[in-house]
């Protein structure tokens, strides 16, 4: 038997969390150190995904499958392909960075904070690696709890409101997905007699287009709230603004990707006909999200809120790319997911850095920061340019591919979305100008200390990724493209195979129920 590597990846952070939680409450230094060690070890464990994954090989890699609840047909099935491997790497990298970034920011109960951060990591990895729908749902929901506590305990003024809103919003969308999962399960059982929650089995099951629509709506609602797509985005600014920096980083960098990942892995391949029918609607919402997010970001007086709304805009690009329904769009979307994770994660960290020093995030409280904080400002500049999508940075690659994919399907989509690119330049550059340039307008800003060694260490890998993914994105594209092509082929094949299927009632005939007595 080979080493259960993915299981180790998912559960090692839990072991680490237990380890951290068992340290004495007052040993702040030890807590930070151990949390960092665990997060870095986890990163090290995940790195082989980069070179050991064979992109061209079809099917799941490093697959593990065990009986879990045989009575229900649920299995413990983990596996990776190019899509999930990259998202797993994004998760481990950003968690390690968030942990190191939170060293000084968290002085209240750091032991519990870091333990929860690691529990959260386990939940996110489980979500990306699960290939059994029930198992996926368990991770998807369970992951809410640590995030809820992170926002609610360590957040800002309105933290309780934001945390509860985050939990209820996400759960409200998810429970209908659970009903849809159960529906699929019985559909499978009626059609083939197989009792299973396994994704592969559902990939082979033709589903009547009319049924697909209902199931798609249930899945899409859950994912759309997570992404978040306009008009389901209202939990996001609250959650982001109130969350502690590390929480915001994880929320933006990884949690939102679970929504887009859900579309790519479940909603599109499982319900291709419904996805096709719904595409104009989804794209319309995505474009509204791009423009609306950008316009609202422009008028935010609070730096963190600005970044939060920019997320709504960027995730709109991801959704547009997915619903262009071609390989360029898919690749652009996945690229954009990674970019957004890196760039927006970095932006939240930068806002956290300045907040730690000044205890304010209002743009009006800054001005001329370049003079006292040259290193901070330069890092900010690079990250901001990447967020705008300047050629040479990662943002450009993603947005370009998304627009290319969208153009191939419908040029008007691309045209509308492209105006979002301009708007993003507008709100970012304007914000940068007000914060960084000109004379120092507030005397208390003159004495600020620049990035510390630890902080430089935090930003170095992010800057490296921004440039690497911008200048030489090919290794990333090589890893994702075969898997994306397969997803596309699968959904096209399923669309053909499902097109003429007739909807069937789910319940057994009454005689069947009576007969069982």
């Amino acid at each position: 038997m080979t080493f259960p590597w993915l299981t180790w990846l998912v559960f090692f952070p839990l072991i680490g969390a237990a380890l951290v939680a068992l340290l004495p409450a007052t040993a702040h230094r030890a807590v930070r150190l151990w949390a960092t060690v665990v997060a870095l070890a986890e990163l090290a464990f995940s790195l082989p995904l980069w070179w050991r994954l064979v992109p061209a090989q079809p099917g799941w890699q490093f697959e593990e499958r065990h009986r879990w609840i045989p009575g229900l047909g649920a299995s413990y099935h983990l596996g990776a392909d190019g899509i999930s491997a990259l998202l797993v790497l994004l998760t481990t990298v950003l968690t390690a960075i968030a942990v190191i970034g939170a060293w000084t920011a968290v002085d209240k109960r750091p032991r519990e904070f870091f333990a929860l951060l690691l529990v959260l990591e386990a939940g996110m990895l489980g979500t990306f690696l699960s290939l059994d729908l029930l198992l996926f749902y368990v991770f998807w929901e369970a992951m809410l709890v640590p995030m809820y506590l992170l926002i609610g305990v360590w957040g800002g003024q309105r933290r309780v409101y934001a945390a509860v809103k985050f939990f209820l919003y996400t759960m409200a969308g998810s429970v209908l997905m659970l009903v849809a999962i159960l529906w699929l399960y019985f559909l499978q059982r009626n059609a083939t007699g197989i009792v299973t929650f396994d994704l592969d089995a559902f990939y082979r099951l033709p589903i009547a287009p009319a049924t697909q629509m209902w199931l798609f709506l249930a899945f899409a609602l859950a994912f759309a709230i997570k992404v978040p797509m306009f008009p389901f985005h209202t939990w996001l600014p609250d959650a982001h603004v109130e969350a502690p920096t590390a929480g915001s980083v994880i929320l933006a960098a990884v949690l939102l990707k679970m929504g887009t990942y859900g579309f790519l892995r479940f909603a599109i391949p499982l319900f291709p006909n419904a996805s096709h029918t719904a595409a104009p609607w989804v794209v319309t919402l995505a474009i509204i999200g791009i423009l609306y997010g950008a316009l609202v970001a422009m008028v935010q007086p609070d730096l963190k809120k600005l970044v939060a709304y920019s997320s709504v805009s960027h995730l709109g690009f991801c959704m547009l790319g997915l619903y262009a329904m071609n390989v360029q769009g898919f690749a652009g979307s996945l690229m954009q997911m990674l970019n957004h994770g890196v760039s927006t994660g970095a932006l939240f960290l930068l806002v956290g850095v300045i907040y730690e020093r000044r205890h304010t995030r209002a743009i009006a409280d800054f001005g001329g920061l370049w003079k006292p904080l040259p290193v901070f400002a330069s890092v900010f500049l690079v990250v901001m340019l990447s967020s705008i999508g300047l050629p040479g940075t990662n943002g450009f690659v993603g947005e370009f591919l998304v627009l290319l994919g969208a153009f191939r399907t419908n040029w008007a989509w691309a045209a509308w979305a492209a105006s979002g690119v301009i708007l993003s330049a507008l709100y970012m550059l304007w914000m940068f100008q007000r914060v960084m340039f000109g004379p120092v307008t507030h005397a208390e800003n003159e004495k600020l200390s620049d990035l510390s060694g630890r902080e430089r260490l935090v930003f170095a890998p992010l800057l490296l990724l921004i440039v690497w993914m911008g200048v030489a994105p090919q290794p990333f594209l090589d890893r994702m493209t075969p898997a994306l092509e397969r997803t596309l082929e699968l959904s096209q094949m399923r669309a053909v195979m499902s097109a003429n299927v007739k909807p069937q009632a789910l319940e057994t005939a009454p005689a069947d129920v009576e007969g069982a007595r």
Partner: protein, 488 residues
């Protein structure tokens, strides 16, 4: 006829009656022991109760196996009986562990308390094991009469008196309904035996017979009262709030499960032939019960009242399984009741630790800051709340998945959607507990927590089961499915 020869006519399978006899014996021992002087602070009541429950459990375990019926079919010993007997014994054992320190602290008379607890458990077991409306009624009265007294055990407290009186009056009224229903059903079918009634209902086109319909409805009212289904739930918040918290914990799990045991036997066995006619009515009751329970719980500041309304909502979920019917519906109800009992006993149990003497501290704000002060209490209560709300990886989630899955399979789509949306509503008030535990400012004078070793054992046991059934539900699932085989 020679009456002395009667025992030969009724060969009794004593092993099948082991649990009943063990409990009866233990009950008498408890009362006799009270004649001997006790050291102050003695725990003999709790110890004797636990030994009794263990003996009962062992004899049930020993007697499991082929289904058989005793006393001319009035008492059956089948998988269903064994499942519920073990469940009631576990509930009682957990309740004893939670009560161990609590009754001393609140100066409740121990012998009476534990004797009543055992006799109530005995009543529950009789209810589940009955295959006859008469014995169901006897079991129900035995359970209820003991509970009426236990609810009023905080004699010096006005709300406890009020609760007991309210519970007693309404309960007596419900018993009247039940008895009247039994009489009418007897009139309609000529028997009180459930199996014969089932055969009768199946053979004759009696679906629309007014006697059967009215009798069934009255019976339903009586049992709906016991499981606190809307609109027969009015007593629940008051009784749960006024009762000593350990009694609340015991009755919220035990009495409800017993009520459902009887309901399942009647609705899915005796009246199975007309189950289709009941579907709409039961669906309406299920929807009302879930919704009224959850919406009312949103507004509560007292945790006991909040959990009382939550227990009403959970009765609604189980009713969904009853509506689904069939072996699957029954097994889903069993599974859910086991899960619910464990997590709900845990939640109420934690509340028994709070406060000083009769001065209960069970408002939501009394928990402020306790999560970090008492990590075990915080983690346990949080997990019980998540489980009640149906969040994975807890038992409550698996219970809901199985239950709603079965209902979906039976074609109850609207009911399932209303059910899952209700669980979202419920999460709001369950989260308020975690908000108080971890997020609200600690009070200047934090609530006193009375740790005691037996309570910790009960806490850890409930916690372990809540988590274990959340990640490894297979065994319980199989048990629940096997236990309904004889029933249907």
């Amino acid at each position: 006829m020679n009456v002395f020869a009667a025992p030969h006519l009724l060969p009794v399978d004593w092993f099948a009656l082991g649990a009943v006899m063990a409990l009866s014996a233990g009950l008498l021992v408890l009362l006799l022991l009270e004649l001997l002087p006790a050291r102050p602070g003695s725990s003999r009541g709790a110890i004797v109760s636990l030994l009794t429950l263990a003996a009962a459990g062992a004899s049930v375990f020993r007697a499991r196996g082929a289904a058989r019926s005793l006393f001319g079919g009035m008492f059956v010993h089948d998988g269903f009986t064994v499942f519920f007997t073990l469940l009631f014994l576990s509930i009682a054992a957990l309740a004893v562990l939670w009560s161990w320190d609590y009754v001393k602290r609140t100066r409740i008379n121990q012998a009476e308390y534990y004797a009543l607890l055992l006799s109530s458990t005995l009543g529950m077991i009789l209810m589940a094991a009955s295959n006859d409306l008469i014995t169901i009624f006897l079991g129900l009265e035995l359970m209820s009469l003991a509970l009426y007294v236990m609810v009023g055990f905080r004699r010096s407290q006005l709300e406890s008196n009020e609760a007991a009186l309210k519970y007693f009056l309404l309960g007596a009224f419900a018993s009247g309904f039940l008895l009247y229903g039994i009489a009418l059903l007897y009139g309609a079918t000529g028997t009180t035996n459930l199996t014969r009634m089932a055969a009768f209902v199946a053979d004759s086109p009696l679906g629309a017979n007014p006697l059967l319909v009215i009798g069934g409805l009255l019976l339903l009212v009586g049992l709906a009262f016991k499981v606190s289904a809307v609109p027969f739930h009015m007593w629940t918040p008051d009784a749960y709030e006024g009762a000593p918290t350990t009694v609340t914990a015991f009755m919220s799990a035990g009495a409800k499960a017993a009520g459902f045991a009887a309901l399942l036997r009647v609705v899915l066995h005796a009246l199975a032939g007309v189950h289709a006619h009941w579907g709409t009515l039961l669906s309406v009751i299920a929807v009302l019960t879930m919704t009224v329970g959850n919406v009312s719980a949103l507004l509560q500041v007292n945790l006991k009242r909040m959990l009382a309304y939550s227990s009403i909502a959970h009765a609604g979920y189980v009713l969904v399984a009853v509506v689904a019917g069939g072996p699957q519906g029954a097994s889903a109800a069993l599974f859910y009741l086991a899960v619910y009992s464990v997590m709900n006993l845990g939640a109420f149990g934690v509340l028994t630790l709070l406060g000083r003497g009769h001065d209960e501290r069970v408002n939501v704000s009394d928990l402020n800051g306790l999560g970090f002060r008492h990590p075990l209490l915080g983690i346990a209560l949080t997990l019980f709340m998540l489980s009640l709300g149906g969040i994975p990886p807890t038992a409550g989630f698996m219970g809901k998945v199985y239950l709603f899955g079965v209902a979906l399979r039976a074609g109850l789509v609207p009911l399932v959607i209303i059910g899952v949306l209700n669980s979202v509503v419920s999460v709001f008030y369950y989260l308020r507990v975690t908000v108080a535990l971890y997020m609200d400012e600690p009070k200047s004078e934090p609530t006193q927590v009375n740790w005691a070793a037996p309570a910790v054992v009960a806490l850890l046991a409930s916690l372990a089961l809540t988590l274990w059934w959340g990640v490894a539900a297979h065994d319980l699932l199989m048990q629940a499915q096997r236990s309904v085989v004889g029933l249907l």
